[in-house]
Symmetry: D2
């Protein structure tokens, strides 16, 4: 961080003691880092609530290897103008099960719509959208 | 707060600007208050993850007025040694639907078990457990 | 349920076995009840995502007894035209801590805005919005 | 699905109508598929709640490209006996920001501990754990 500002936080000693205990458990090396993480979490949650801001999302799909439908929907999605698949990762969990992880960019609500369609695909056993950010303003 | 300590948070100016914008939207009057809220949120989340610490929970049950089974399970629960119903609120939403809100105390995992049983009761259309704290150490 | 329709669900025997195990743990008495609950959960989640549909919400506020600001904001909120507080419950947890539970009605996004303001009030240590429904269409 | 069993679900016509509307919005092609997804969601949520069952998780980390600490912690984690990183994906979002997506296997609570440590690393701006399953029993 080349350019840094500071502000002070006042709180009860007992609350600070508990916060420090949590930081130790999570292996944080300083309080500023932990507070920045809490702030960024709150900002990203807000971005996804508002919906039309630029965001990044990770779609995790557990699916049956034999299913052909997911491959087709993924192909269609590539041609979709809105949310864009930046990159993807494929893991063979066992003879039957695969995990497909897609990194997407676009407006929050567009990523959500694309994720819903993918999760609803026949053969997908479990799907989740992880909402994150492009990091530009964080 | 009779007794207060302070610590400093360093962060990028752009991140602070966005945080201030969020505080305005949520009507926070100062940053310390907002950071304390974020810290308490994280601590309460951790308490419920660990499971055996003292906690408070609010169980919200949307149910069909005609259902008798919920009344019975609530009575049984009162005699349960573990999680304790401190207080409850009943709202008639319309001719058919009621909302029952129960404030519970006990260990986090005991409250969760009691909530699961109540939510699973026939006649309960929707149920949620809200995890909060007794406030002692916050 | 005076008026009932039926549909069939086909699934792998192993998945059904695990589902039955979960129902036992949660004390469900039959599968239909459990599936209806899952369907209602999904519908309510969708209502809150869409935002402008009629909904019910429960706002849980853990706060310091000495705080006067919450009382003022609650009074202001009563005069607000949008989300409406139907009923409320107050619990004295100990000498310092109170739990205020508010049942609200209105459009999902209006309830959310009101909840955000209440949670941001000075003196409120922890706040959560529980999203539920009026039950009319469930 | 070579081997399939069936069970019937009874519900109010209005609830079924709404469910069908949701399925259309999410592009489901049949009700069984949607109910199976709801059941699997509930089972995976339960597995993560219990904590000591075999699971899969996806850790998403948004971080500053210049940070060296994450690389070190990832290396240490590889030598950790417990949760295992199966595969990972790295995306350059812009000149400063990267997204690292890790697919992990192990017991639910071990994956969670590893995820907490990674998210707490200096330089990581945002981190999330997505809880999924190995799919064996689904």
């Amino acid at each position: 961080m080349a350019n840094v500002v500071r502000f002070g936080v006042s709180l009860e000693p007992e609350l600070l003691k508990q916060f420090d205990r949590l930081l130790t458990a999570r292996r944080y090396t300083n309080r500023s880092e932990a507070v920045r993480d809490l702030i960024r979490d709150a900002l990203i949650e807000e971005d996804w609530r508002v919906g039309n801001r630029q965001a990044a999302g990770v779609v995790t799909l557990l699916y049956d290897h034999a299913s052909m439908e997911l491959a087709q929907r993924l192909t269609h999605l590539q041609h979709d103008q809105h949310a864009q698949i930046v990159s993807s990762l494929h893991v063979h969990l066992d003879h039957h099960n695969c995990l497909e992880v897609l990194v997407m960019r676009g407006r929050a609500h567009e990523i959500r719509t694309a994720a819903d369609r993918l999760i609803g695909t026949r053969g997908v056993k479990h799907g989740k959208l992880t909402m994150t950010a492009t990091g530009r303003a964080l």
